[in-house]
């Protein structure tokens, strides 16, 4: 393959010192791994903190006042659901319980769980990702039946369908399993019917956590939300998207965990940038006589810029590929963990662009040096 002369100069200058080249690649790859894993975990963090709001298929949530995160609910009376049904634009309104409870394992150990109670005829797609294409209505219709996720089956020591378990002194039976429903609080979601849920969390007959609202066709979600808020002034009416965002924000910024993940990703970016900048600068200084010769021969500044930027791009691309191979392996390895980094294609592309941009930015110092080269130095 015919390579351009600037490419040849860039590639050979970059790879001539093998040790320095390897250190550069390790630095960039490390930066990519750090960014990939931290942002991947952040995405997982965001999606698990808002998983119910995101997957419910409801348009609007009615919560008790002051509720900002789906995991931290406040009880309200089920008559809110009937009141909501009377508001124009509301097609369906369903009750839901989301509350913590205790799961007693066969070995006597107690684990904290999040009970999700919905009516057996609920249509808002809870639970989802059921294994073996099981029908959620049939499963939730079984008395004291519970559905758990495979990821947590071992933790709960309930690895078989039909296994009897004890939840808050209520005898229950595992009737189904889901796949990949992770929880942020590390208290696994346990889906059951509304009535069972009330007993499992020790609540009264009219106790619910949320009313899930589906807006009728032809009505705007925001309009219906405003109407509901007017009609139910002692509640908090919020769209599902806003509730998901609010839940993610709550955990991201009140716990500091999210900030820590973001800081790590930024740190990765800085480390990569500094390493590339240092390498390119040292490389440029080493090859100043060659750049001066090019200038003396009449090479325009742009030609010299191309060489430096090609070096930055080559280092960035190779380091990125190495880093992403490691990230892909780590993501694959963690696919069954309770906190599995997410790596959507847009993030793969975004990390690539960021790495390349970081390398170009790092090249700025070297470009400054190249701009100031005096061609007269070739005679010294």
């Amino acid at each position: 393959m015919a390579k351009s002369i600037p490419f040849l100069i860039a590639w050979r200058n970059l790879t001539h010192d093998r040790a320095r080249f390897i250190v550069t690649l390790v630095g960039i790859a490390f930066s990519v791994i750090l960014m990939g894993m931290q942002i991947g975990l952040l995405l997982n963090f965001i999606s698990t903190t808002s998983t119910i709001a995101t997957h419910s298929h409801a348009d609007i949530f009615i919560t008790a006042p002051g509720v900002t995160s789906e995991d931290v609910s406040t009880p309200q009376n089920e008559r809110r659901r009937f009141q909501a049904l009377g508001v124009p634009g509301v097609e369906r309104a369903e009750s839901m319980i989301l509350d913590f409870s205790q799961w007693k394992r066969p070995d006597g150990v107690t684990e904290s769980i999040s009970i999700v109670g919905v009516a057996p005829d609920a249509t808002m797609e809870l639970p989802w990702n059921l294994c073996d294409h099981a029908d959620p209505h049939t499963l939730l219709g079984q008395p004291d039946g519970v559905i758990i996720d495979r990821l947590y089956a071992h933790l709960l020591r309930a690895e078989k369908i039909g296994q009897l378990v004890e939840i808050n002194d209520v005898r229950s039976r595992v009737v189904g399993m889901t796949s990949g429903i992770r929880t942020f609080t590390q208290s696994p979601f346990v889906f059951t019917s509304l009535s069972s849920a009330r007993r499992m969390v020790g609540a009264g007959d009219r106790h619910i956590s949320y009313v899930l609202v589906k807006v009728a066709p032809g009505y705007g979600i925001e309009d219906v939300r405003d109407r509901l808020q007017q009609h139910l002034p002692d509640t908090h009416v919020i769209t599902s998207a806003d509730f998901a965002a609010s839940s993610a924000k709550y955990w991201l910024f009140t716990t500091g965990a999210g900030v820590s993940l973001i800081m790590s990703a930024v740190l990765g970016l800085l480390i990569g940038g500094v390493i590339v900048a240092q390498t390119l600068y040292a490389n440029t200084i080493d090859h100043l006589p060659e750049y001066a010769t090019l200038r003396a021969m009449g090479g325009p500044t742009g030609y010299l810029y191309r060489i430096v930027l090609m070096q930055a791009s080559l280092a960035g691309i190779i380091g990125y590929v190495i880093g992403m191979i490691v990230v892909a392996f780590l993501v694959w390895s963690a696919r069954n963990a309770s906190a599995a980094p997410e790596m959507p294609s847009w993030l793969v592309a975004a990390i690539g662009m960021t790495t390349l941009g970081d390398c170009w930015l790092a090249a700025a110092v070297s470009l400054r040096v190249v701009t100031r080269i005096d061609p007269v130095r070739v005679f010294r």
Binding site: A2, P6, R12, E290, T293, R295, M297, G298, V376, F379
Partner: protein, 230 residues
Amino acid sequence: MTGDKTMLSVRSVAHNYGCGETAVAALRGIDLDIMAGEILLLVGPSGSGKTTLVQIMGCLLRPTQGRVLLNGNDVASLPEARRNTLRLENFGFIFQSNNLFPNLTATENVMVALDLLGIKGAAARRQARDLLASVGLGNRLDAFPAQLSGGQRQRVGIARALASNPKILLADEPTAALDAENGLRAMELMKTMAHQGNLGVVIVTHDSRIVDAADRTIRLEDGRITDDKL
């Protein structure tokens, strides 16, 4: 062997390094014409202004005073980008330490000059190989500078300087790092190229061994021409 066409003229050129009371005069009113096909040696003691004069002639340095006429046009006051283009299109440079790219082969080193002129790919490679063959390096095309002798490296430098088909060749101590035999071979090569290509060649040197190969020798002392003989 010189033509009657003036390639480059230097008129009343003076140059100072620094300014005010600390200024050092490197050149003091130089007048000089470089003719096509002429080999001109610039000799003189260290600090006499030889290299400064070559830098000014090659559009690498602006004179403090005076004019530099290339094909009749004053180039001393042109913007830097224009002077850069003029350098590319009109001058070939040969350096004492040859200044080859250590990570490029002999062919690729010559291709750099062609690439700057927009000649790329197979055409550039073919032209570079022809040039190297013409300086006797047809069998060392893919050698890196470190694999070449000093004389061979200087010949690659000459081939690279000639690649842009320059009108004027400016050489700074081209034989200083070579032994007598290689020095004379390099000198003969430049002479042949100058006469065949009708180039104006200016060589700065301390090397008395090559004086006989020149068409004209100019002696500089303290920034002034003290001798000009054919």
